[in-house]
């Protein structure tokens, strides 16, 4: 089932949480709503679920406006960040809840309920925990119970609100790829909210980047990462160095030259740390002198923090080979050379 959000506006008092937002989620896709806290992503998810009401705009499931349909009748599975498991019920009863509360005429019999719950528990690999209570489970297990419970009512749409936000980094990473595999298996239209760009890029088919109640860009992870539509998207998806400057036959950013063409006006250069290189000699007019301030060689890439002549911190990521080749040390005077970059013409402050 496809989800379409048309011109949604939502206010909380004087605060506009969503401003005229439109979004299409095609059938079977997994879409991430990505943005910092307070950008309206959770509000949008809750409006789709019917837990919140929008002042303007409409939500359509398969082209049908569902404004009048209460949350019970929308056929959505909703998973909360903090699991929201029924703490007085066992894992089994949690998953069975949605089936047990059905009106008598469409309620499955006990045997069917048992079968379906057990099937779901084996899907989330928790068969052995069915008699336990939520307080006896770890965070990752609880979130999987929440997922099985949402799937038990065979929803048309799965909505996840920061599903891994409360878990530690290792479990989060593993659960993330598991969710991706699960989605490939069941192919249910899903929307999930996250503030973690890595998570969004890794799991989702498409990513919608939100900022202060507005969708800045929607695209595949590849598109939003490599071809960001706005400086904000560029900045939000990964670490970035920002140089403010002026076009002058190439960009004179902060007193240094960048090899780029453009009109004679203010501009901003965005360079990701891995798009910068370090050399011991000045390479023509490219690059600028800087002093090494800190080196962190732990990890797949070596992170080097430098201080430019005009006092701006610059972050560079080098491969381990390149780092060894250069033989960098603290307080060394070097040149920073951009390999590639993205220029946004209007001056943009972060």
């Amino acid at each position: 089932m496809s989800i379409e959000v048309r011109n949604i506006t939502k206010r909380f008092g004087a605060f506009a949480a969503l401003k005229n937002v439109s979004l299409l989620v095609p059938t079977g896709e997994l879409v991430a709503l990505l943005g910092p806290s307070g950008c309206g992503k959770t509000t949008l998810l809750r409006i789709i679920a019917g837990l919140e009401r929008a002042e303007e705009g409409s939500v359509l499931f398969d082209g049908v406006d569902i404004a009048g349909r209460a949350v019970q009748h929308r056929g959505v599975g909703f998973v909360f960040q903090h699991y929201a498991l029924f703490r007085h019920m066992s894992v089994f009863e949690n998953v069975a809840f949605g089936l047990r509360v059905r009106p008598r005429r469409i309620r499955p019999d006990e045997k069917t309920i048992r079968e379906r719950v057990n099937r779901l528990l084996s899907l989330v690999q928790l068969e052995s925990q069915s008699h336990r209570y939520p307080s006896q489970l770890s965070g990752g297990q609880r979130q999987r119970v929440a997922l099985a419970r949402a799937l038990a009512v065979e929803p048309q749409v799965l909505l996840l609100d920061e599903p891994f936000g409360a878990l530690d980094a290792k479990v989060r990473g593993e659960l993330r790829s598991w969710l991706r595999r699960l989605h490939d298996e069941i192919r249910m239209t899903s929307v999930f909210v996250t503030h973690d760009q890595e998570e969004a890029l890794e799991v989702a088919d498409r990513v919608a980047v939100l900022r202060e109640g507005v969708i800045e860009q929607v695209g595949t992870p590849d598109e939003v990462y490599h071809h960001p539509a706005t400086p904000y998207v560029f900045d939000f998806l990964g670490r970035v160095n920002v140089f403010h400057g002026r076009w002058l036959k190439g960009l004179q950013a902060s007193g240094s030259a960048f090899p780029a063409d453009g009109p004679d006006e203010a501009g901003t250069v965005f360079v990701r740390p891995h798009q910068l290189d370090i050399s011991h000699q000045a390479a023509g007019s490219d690059g600028f002198p800087a002093r090494v301030r800190h080196i962190n060689p732990a990890g797949p890439l070596v992170r080097v923090e430098l201080l430019s002549e005009w006092g701006q911190p610059v972050h560079v990521e080098l491969s381990q080979e390149r780092y060894r080749e250069l033989g960098l040390a603290r307080d060394a005077q070097v040149y920073v050379v951009p390999k590639e970059m993205k220029v946004f013409e209007a001056d943009y402050a972060i």
Partner: protein, 316 residues
């Protein structure tokens, strides 16, 4: 112990901060007392003396005084028709006031804890009025509202509705005085529970009523029971407000506390204490119930905490 050690309480792996802080406080307290060895015993003696003088002695005195003239007098005092009717009236009033406040308390606390609306804080303050106003004044308010001199008075008289100096009046003031107990117990529990479990239940297709019965209520049941017990204790023991509206008609509008007062004023000390001992017994039963509830809840909580943090929980 250097400065940074002092600021950071010792943490035990896998334990919540609360435990760590408590351990820390206990240790610091122990340090203070170790430097002053007599202090511990003096403090304990003071606390025990205070407890004995203000709590144990009066309670024992009630039973001793009640038995002073022997079983026969005791039995006569509690089995006398006026005493019996007071017992019955007290139980009747509690039987009406407690369920009313139970229902009303659940509704009010649910609205206040789970929803943001204009006037929420005003409502919260209003709920506390029965606690902050002297019970005598509460009684007086009802006299002024429904008495013969009030605006409603003539209308009530014309329709032959007797509120004051009758059972309905007693029930009304008791409901008023005991109103905050259930609400005050439930609000923190419901706020802690949040809306998410209920929203989940709704998204799973449960109706509002099913959500309330299967999700909201089971989660607050201990708080609710606790509130009901306190509410009941107060409903049976209320004196001030009831005294103003009851009219002290023996055998008709006398509750147990009022009956005790009458007997005492008539210099029937043994009888007064005998009836008082009934009330004290009711209070003790209430206390035991409350304690066993607290114990049960704590045990359930501890069991939950100990089992927390099992295997890492990632599917293979």
């Amino acid at each position: 112990m250097n400065d940074s050690d002092m600021q950071r309480p010792p943490t035990v792996p896998g334990h919540p901060w609360g435990v760590a802080l408590r351990t820390f406080a206990r240790r610091r307290g122990a340090v203070v007392l170790r430097s002053w060895p007599w202090g511990r015993w003096i403090l304990i003696a003071m606390a025990l003396t205070f407890l004995a003088v203000f709590l144990v002695v009066p309670l024992v005195a009630v039973f001793v005084e009640a038995m002073k003239k022997g079983w026969a007098v005791y039995w006569a005092a509690v089995s006398e028709p006026a005493a019996w009717s007071a017992v019955k009236l007290t139980l009747l009033v509690a039987a009406i006031a407690v369920p009313l406040n139970l229902a009303f308390g659940i509704v009010a606390s649910w609205c206040i804890a789970k929803f943001e609306f204009r006037g929420r804080n005003i409502l919260l303050a209003l709920i506390d009025i029965p606690f902050s106003v002297s019970p005598v004044i509460s009684g007086l308010i009802f006299v002024l509202l429904f008495g013969a001199q009030s605006r409603l008075g003539p209308w009530l008289a014309a329709h032959d509705i007797k509120l004051l100096f009758a059972v309905p009046g007693i029930v009304l003031v008791t409901v008023f005085v005991t109103f905050p107990f259930v609400v005050r117990e439930l609000i923190p529990v419901m706020e802690a529970q949040g809306r998410e479990e209920e929203e989940t239940a709704l998204s799973l297709g449960a109706s509002g009523w099913q959500t309330f019965l299967r999700v909201t209520l089971p989660n607050v049941k201990w708080g609710l029971l606790y509130g009901v017990i306190l509410c009941n204790a107060r409903a049976m023991g209320e004196f001030g407000a009831v005294s103003v509206v009851s009219g002290h008609i023996r055998g008709e509008t006398n509750t147990l506390p009022l009956h005790v007062e009458i007997l005492y004023n008539e210099y029937q000390f043994a009888a007064a204490f005998a009836v008082a001992s009934l009330l004290a017994l009711l209070a003790l039963v209430t206390l035991v119930l409350k304690k066993s509830l607290e114990w049960k809840v704590r045990r359930a909580l501890r069991a939950g905490q100990e089992r927390e943090g099992g295997p890492s929980g990632v599917p293979a």
